[in-house]
Amino acid sequence: MNDTAQIFEQGEYNFAYLDEQTKRMIRRAILKGIAIPGYQVPFASREMPMPYGWGTGGVQVTAAILGKDDCLKMIDQGSDDTTNAVSLRGFFEKTAGVRTTFETSEASVIQTRHRIPEKTLREDQIIVFQVPIPEPLRFLEPRETETRKMHALEDYGLMHVKLYEDIAKNGHIATTYAYPVKVNDRYVMDPSPTPKFDNPKIDQMAALQLYGAGREKRIYAIPPYTKVKSLDFEDYPFEVQKFDKPCGLCGAENVYLDEVILDDKGGRMFVCSDSDYCEERRADGHLGPMAADPAAHQFGATQAEETAR
């Protein structure tokens, strides 16, 4: 056991790290976020024991909502075993002592960076997104004073111009992740840098979605069953990327795939980005076209080892 673990056990820090006053402040911001879907509520984000940009917004939101009976799943890039997911999960195991899981269906709270699980979320689940830049208009207009006005006036012309320029230049909209959406026919929102593949999942989602941006000090939310429309044009409708192959390990189709380079001779494999989903399918006997390949087999085994812990 290291020193940090001892400090938490000695009760130097509160349950889930944050003090109660900070939790109250964050909780009030969450309530406003839910009441005004897609609107970015300013909140007095705290310094956390992990750096800004590494999930401090998500961690603060999770810490504010988490109870001792919750079961937490922590993912980064779709996977439970990437380094930062391991680190953040360890943080809550230490500070809150809550149960954690890799299984999407078992979790009551899921904190994520850049992906939404493939398995459909339920009404009794909450998904917390880590957000780097919450302002969808930021790269078109760097000034907060200006973007705030645009949201107030529902003036999203600039965003449409940008998307249209994409089409004029490239023949299609060249935004592949952090693809802007309009929430409840009012606010344009950044769904965080999830690939646009996941955008359809946030429309009418049964689970409550909370978004936390620590460095930028904003919280926003999408209540369950809320209309979320990816921005597009009548003649250029929104479309998600499609992979022409199934997952190499489990054979799943219509899921988001990571490209894994297997050797230095151009050998590569596409596997589920959602590692829990892939595991479960393989456990159920599904086999992908690459499952027998030795390099692929090794990759799958390493993953399983991490997962088994």
């Binding site: 290291n2 790290y17 003090d19 006053q21 900070t22 300013p42 909140f43 007095a44 984000s45 705290r46 310094e47 956390m48 750096p51 800004y52 940009g53 590494w54 401090t56 980064d76 890039q77 996977s79 075993d81 990437t82 380094t83 930062n84 391991v86 360890g90 960076r113 850049h114 780097p132 760097p142 000034r143 907060e144 004073t145 023949g171 060249a174 592949t176 992740y177 952090a178 840098p193 999830t194 690939p195 646009k196 593949f197 460095r215 000090k217 904003r218 990327q241 988001y256 990571d258 490209e259 380079i261 297997l262 050797d263 230095d264 390099a295 090794q298 990759f299 390493t302 991490e306 812990r309």
Partner: protein
């Protein structure tokens, strides 16, 4: 070769162990004590207290030791600790006119009431490596005779100018008006001067230095004179509601810089000099001066000046001054981004496919056209 893309708990644990080992270095060399750091690296300690926004020399020394001398990392450790501490309220404003002064210089007067006190400074030293320090051993150092802090009355230069009406008056604020605090309310714009000064006081020394320097090079000139720089000890008082009077909590060392800047005036108001203000923990003069210059630059609107330079841009300056935020976000690029990258990879492949296809078609059309012409 197979490249592992996913790390795990074991990898993190091992990395932390290795880091602990590297931090300690060769165990045959004695470990640094916090006292040594606090005493002998006092400028580093002051910087970490200022940017970490917490005045505690021993904690800062610990942070520096833990961070292996990475001062931004150390400031970050201080901030993360500070945020867990309970808040009791706000202190009374410190009165720097009552400072127990160790150093006080003015560039605007040859001599002034209370005198110039050079005090401890690198100024006027020759920047030659002192190899005697390398040979220094415990117990062999020669005692250095020093003067004790000045307790003579030292009115502030800006007050002297103010008495003659030459300096714009300090803005009169309602004593009961709440003071802005960006650790409790997120920054929103326009930001008043209290918030701006708080932001600058916590801001990165290097960032403020570069901005201040840019104003000297013409990006928003403010014609500054170092009216006064003073360093020393001030008392911190807290008004205790239940007692009905202020009690002293302790003393802190601060550097205060008052810049005297270009005058303003109009048909209605007589010309006066204008102020820029800097106040930091410890002896961090470079930052106190930079802060005062950037503070003055950001007052362009109130003083009816034109805005043309980065140092005047309040939103730009305040949004990027915090090195804890900056380092976090820059360094977060080390985190895996393969999901987003995959999306981009996919798009670039598709666009390249389209590009080659288009070129092939054009070539074919060209060939057909040539054939037709032949």
């Amino acid at each position: 070769m197979y490249v592992a893309v996913k790390g795990g708990e074991k990898a993190i644990r091992n990395a932390h162990k290795l880091m602990a080992k590297r931090r300690r270095g060769d165990t045959s060399v004695p470990s640094l004590t916090l006292e040594q750091i606090a005493q002998q690296l006092s400028h580093a300690v002051a910087r970490v207290m200022g940017e970490g926004s917490l005045y505690d020399e021993m904690l800062a020394a610990l942070a520096i030791k833990q961070a292996r001398g990475d001062l931004i990392e150390a400031a970050f450790l201080m901030r993360a600790y500070r945020t867990t501490l309970p808040r009791f309220g706000y202190s009374q404003p410190v009165d720097t006119a009552k400072m127990l002064v160790e150093r006080r210089v003015s560039a605007t007067y040859k001599d002034l009431p209370g005198g110039q006190v050079l005090g401890p400074t690198f100024d006027y030293s020759h920047r030659l490596l002192d190899f005697a320090l390398a040979a220094e051993e415990d117990g062999l150092e020669k005692p250095v005779e020093t003067a004790s802090p000045e307790d003579a009355s030292m009115p502030r230069v800006t007050d002297l100018l103010g008495d003659e009406g030459l300096m714009e008056p300090d803005p009169v604020t309602d004593e009961d008006a709440p003071v802005g605090d960006l650790t409790r309310e997120p920054l929103s714009f326009p930001a008043d001067r209290d918030l701006r000064l708080q932001n600058l006081a916590r801001g990165d020394e290097g960032f403020l230095l570069a901005l201040a320097y840019s104003t000297q090079r013409g990006y928003g000139r403010t014609h500054p004179f170092a009216g006064e720089i003073r360093y020393g000890e001030v008392e911190v008082e807290f008004f205790a509601e239940e007692l009905g009077f202020a009690v002293t909590l302790g003393a802190i060392k601060v550097t205060e810089c008052q810049m005297v800047n270009q005058f303003k005036g109009s048909a209605k108001t007589a010309p006066t000099f204008t102020r820029g203000y800097g106040l930091v923990f410890g002896q961090v003069e470079r930052k106190a001066m930079s802060m005062a210059m950037v503070d003055r630059s950001m007052r362009w609107q109130e003083l009816g000046e034109e805005q043309s330079a980065p140092a005047q841009d309040v939103e730009f300056v305040l949004s990027h001054s915090d090195n804890i935020q900056a380092t976090g976000f820059v360094e977060h690029l080390k985190l895996p981004h393969y999901v987003d990258f995959q999306a981009e990879l996919d798009l670039v492949r598709r666009m390249r496919g389209e590009w080659f296809e288009k070129r092939r078609q054009e070539e074919e059309e060209g060939d057909t056209a040539r054939e037709a012409a032949e």
